[in-house]
Structures are given as C-alpha cells and as structure tokens.
Symmetry: C2
Subunit: 148 residues, 2 copies
DNA sequence: TTAGGACCTCAAGTTCCTTGAGGTTCAAGA
DNA sequence: TCTTGAACCTCAAGGAACTTGAGGTCCTAA
C-alpha cells in the first residue's frame, strides 16, 4: 500500500479508457495535472485512478462533462450536503428518461415503416416504395392540425 | 401548380428547420446547389422542399447523415430495388434498439443509485454519500469475472 | 547497445450543426 | 424615389467529447 505509482498506460487500463482520453481529461481540468518523471512521463496513484474510474462511470451513464465537474466539486469538498449530488443525479435521470421516451417513439415509427414496406412493396423498385412516401410526410405528433 | 419558387426562409419554414441548416445541407451535398436570383438569393421549389422534409424526417429518426445520403441515392435512382432501402431501415432500427437497451440499463442504474442515497445518506454530507462510492465502483455488467 | 514499445506534444479531424461578424438584396411604406 | 428593416449572402469559428496523426523522446529488457 505504499508506492502505487503507475504510468498513464496502466492508469488508463485500470479505468478502461484510452490513454489519449486521460490526457484530454487533464487538459480540460477534469483530472489534476499529473506528476511527472524526470523524463516527462506522467505518474498516477490510486487516488487518480479512483477519480478516473468515477469519471468514466459517469460518462458511461451518459452524463455530460459539465455535470461531472459539478459532482466532482461536491465530492472534493466533503462538507457539502449530499443532497446536492442527489439533485444532480435526479436531473440527469430526468434527461435520460426523456431521451428514452424519444427513442421509444422513434423505434415504433421506424418499425411501422419497415413493416409497411415489407408487406406491400419490397419486391418492387424504389420509385414506388412506401418508405420514401412515409418519410416525405411531416411527422404527425399528437393531434396537431395539418396545414391546408 | 406552376410558379412555386420560394426563398430559403420559406423553404426552411416548410421543413421546420433553421435557414442555416439548409445552407449546410447544400454545402455537404445533401441538397443540390440551389438556383439563384440575380442578386444571389437561393430559390427553392416543391421538389426541394420534399427532399428537405425527407432529410429532416430521417434526422428526427436519428439517422446519421451518411445513411440519409444512401437512402437519397436509392430514391433518386427510382430503378433500384426497394429492398435496399428496407435493409438500410432495418440496420438503423437495430442501432436504435441497441441504444434503447443501453439507455434502459442506464436508467435502472441511475435510479438505483438515487434511491440508495435517498434512503440511507442524503441527510449527510458528500463525504459519506453512497452516490460517490457507487460511482467509484467499476460497472458490473452481466457476470464478468472481476480481476483479482 | 539496441530494438521496440510506451510515452511526449501539438494540430487537426470527427459529427451535425449553430453562432457571429460584416456586408448585400429586397419588398414595402412614406 | 428614397429609405427602412427584414431577410439574405459568405466566410470563420465554436461546441461536445474525443480520436487520429505526425514527428519525436524515453525506458526497459534482452
């Protein structure tokens, strides 16, 4: 538990991301400036790796960098109320759910288009393909009145 | 049904997108080079608007530009088999479904984290918040063996 | 000693637009 | 006819989150 210094390659491997990404996080200030060996190579310890994993985990959860910065600030200052972090999480959860709903609708629409084509026209040529006619229709959401 | 020439502003409005986007589509070759008035203003007709709506619709369905280019090529050459378009659509549908599954998992994970924090720690400070400890754990997907 | 792998620093590319600056053109009202 | 003011024009750069590439240095092990 003493000398846990490792190269950027080892740290990146532990966090499961490319080396270039680690440098990028340092560049934008998500990661602190790494110590260096005399030759210039970066050095990382367990704390760095934990932070890196934290960041990657958040990114896997699709959080934008800005939100991760905010979370790290709360974490770095151990005295701030945990409720702040929970708020951020709920905010992000809402964004994920909203995107989820969009994608569900999207899937339905695409599947319907494909089914129609498969049933009625897919032996023919593109000139009569229903996919193209459907795609040329403006999307009908809810019950919006169409312009005459 | 004769003189349906309109400005870029009118065309953009019909397609429901910003004017700058229409110019951008021309720049990257998704839209053909528009005719111009003597003063330089672009002119569009119904065919252009239909193409624009097609493109926007595809983008709403989250298709990458490259796939739209491919679809338009099939559509432009009316003789190509409709099955090609259906293939592209299925391909895209698969991408959408895959993303959908990712997001569903994401939502579960986030919701679980938030619930845990809300139940056990959210009165406290960030130093003991479960959100941070959870986020520092590498994600456990399926049953992958953990490195020792 | 030397090979080659890992590392270094810029710089530019990716995707799909959006925003901004600085300058024309056009339609319409006075 | 003149004059607004909106709509248009052309670059150029920015944004998110990295990735890729070029050209060069450092380190480890045989």
């Amino acid at each position: 538990m003493s000398s846990s210094a490792m190269t950027i390659g080892a740290a990146a491997k532990r966090a499961g991301c490319p080396v270039a990404t680690v440098r990028y996080y340092e560049e934008i200030g998500l990661m602190p400036e790494a110590e260096r060996r005399p030759g210039g190579h970066r050095l990382y310890d367990e704390t760095d790796v934990a932070r890196l994993i934290f960041i990657r985990r958040c990114r896997e959860l699709d959080m934008p960098i800005g939100k991760i910065v905010a979370l790290l600030a709360i974490s770095d200052d151990g005295a701030r109320p945990c409720a702040e972090a929970l708020d951020l999480t709920h905010e992000h959860l809402a964004a994920v759910r909203s995107r989820l709903n969009e994608l569900r609708e999207l899937e339905r629409t695409l599947a319907a288009f494909a089914a129609e084509c498969a049933q009625t026209c897919c032996q023919g040529s593109s000139a009569t393909c229903t996919l193209f006619s459907e795609l040329r229709e403006p999307a009908r959401r809810g019950g919006a009145a169409r312009p005459t």
